[in-house]
Amino acid sequence: MINITSRIIVVLIISTATIFSAWGQKTITNSIGMELILIAPGNMMVGEFKPPYVVPEDTVKDAKHPIIMAMGEGRGYSTREFELARQMATADSKPGFKVAIKRPYYIGKYEVTQGQWKKVMGSNPSTFKSDDTDDLPVESITWDQAQAFVAALNKMEKTRRYRLPTEFEWEYAARSGRTGDIPWPEIQKSANLNKKTTLRVGEMAPNAWGLYDVLGNVWEWVEDYYNEKMFADPVPKKNGNQHVLKGASFTGDVKNATYMTHAAGPGNGWDIGLRILMEK
């Protein structure tokens, strides 16, 4: 009796663990070989802006940086400049706002590749293409072309509904539970940056929820219109002239390859791609 009870408890524990691990990690593969990861609902803070300013002693430490060197080694703020920096940084700070992601969704584990684009659209608009570039991200696409891809995929599969993620859905998946901004050494490990071309998807380190290349490689279109502000509004605009781009590209660096960056198209073209969402 004791043995049977123990076995039941063990089985229950294992099952429970499996369910929990599956929640947020479950991956499906669709008809064009695209892997999508299940993202569980939750909350995040968006647009928290607290620009750091440094006391003169800290500036002296930074003097090893070549640009600082060029300006005079060890040159720090004067007392007046430090006070101005403190006042400006404090006045410009924003607490951000809470965003609730209420429904689970699947999002691309990788950026849409040239091979996947060809299967759906029958063509390849990319700049960086050859006979062997199916695993590179598709690029040189406008927001309208991204929408056309989603529409064509929906038509092909019929039973599932794909779309571009909203900026908040994108950022929530990119943050993968992180509240603060990302330390630069981590960005360097996960993002293809400061390069002359794109890299095959999935070559860099994934984020905590298993998504690759959310930072760097290609900018990714999201559904939202751009508000011409540093961050999104709590209620995104319903119209506008441009659409939001997230995640930076291979031309970016650690300064803009952060999920906080709220950019907009058209950008360069040849470093603009997409990652798509599948509704659960």
């Binding site: 930074d62 720090g76 603060g180 901004d181 502000k229 300064k255």
Partner: protein, 230 residues
């Protein structure tokens, strides 16, 4: 009636003085009143909103909000051209004049920084094959005053020449086209450097010296001669 007439004369005189200083054969790129013909890069790593404005006829760049920079770009692209621009730059503010810039502000750059290598040829957001340094700046540069830059750029593999206050600083022919995707034309840009991240980052660093609080770069008499149209 007399006062408005005098005002009209004064306004006309001021306007003509502003435009009169663009060398003959150059087309104005800046009207002295607004940023018509220019736009902010929304994908530059310097920042996406920027703070460029016209103050008393002068195109002014100043950080706002704190720490965020930006790049202001012409709406038009130019292949072979000669650019004329006058700049007055506060010290400890890192800016630059971008040539053949992409929309996300990859470009060849004429550095503007004091103290430092003002007039140097550098790459912005890209590696360039050959850089160059301005020379004799102690003699040529007018401190705390307006200084003129004339920049000529020609060729798919670009040859770039710089004059400051009509003194030739350097001429460089790159060994190759350094641009991603081999661009042979691009926009004129003005850089306002970032100096702080969105938040303090463990393991990262900031660039407090890149833009002094309240510092500004100012530009006027901007004109271009399109050499591709000849």
């Amino acid at each position: 009636m007399k006062i408005p007439y005098i005002l009209f004369i004064c306004i006309s005189l001021k306007a003509s003085l502003v435009f009169a200083q663009i060398p003959e054969g150059f087309v104005p790129l800046f009207n002295g009143q607004d940023l018509d013909g220019w736009h902010i890069s929304r994908t530059s790593h310097q920042g996406t909103t920027g703070n460029f404005y016209v103050d008393n006829g002068v195109l002014t760049a100043k950080q706002n909000p704190f720490g965020q920079g930006s790049v202001l770009l012409t709406d038009k692209k130019y292949a072979d051209f000669e650019l004329y621009i006058e700049a007055k730059i506060d010290s400890f503010c890192n800016g630059g004049i971008f040539i053949r810039s992409t929309e996300s502000a990859q470009a060849y750059q004429i550095e503007l920084i004091l103290p430092g290598k003002t007039g140097a040829l550098l790459g912005e957001a890209m590696q360039i094959s050959q850089s160059a340094d301005a020379r004799d700046m102690e003699r040529v540069w007018k401190a705390d005053d307006w200084n003129s830059f004339r920049i000529r750029m020609t060729g798919a593999i670009p040859t770039i020449t710089l004059w400051i206050n009509d003194v030739m600083m350097w001429e460089v022919t790159q060994p190759k086209n350094d641009f991603t995707a081999g661009a042979v034309s691009g926009m004129i840009g003005l850089q306002l450097h970032w100096s702080a991240t969105y938040q303090a980052l463990p393991g990262g660093f900031n660039m407090p010296g890149a833009w002094r609080p309240e510092g500004a770069h100012r530009f006027r008499n901007i004109g271009i001669k399109n050499l591709s149209e000849k």
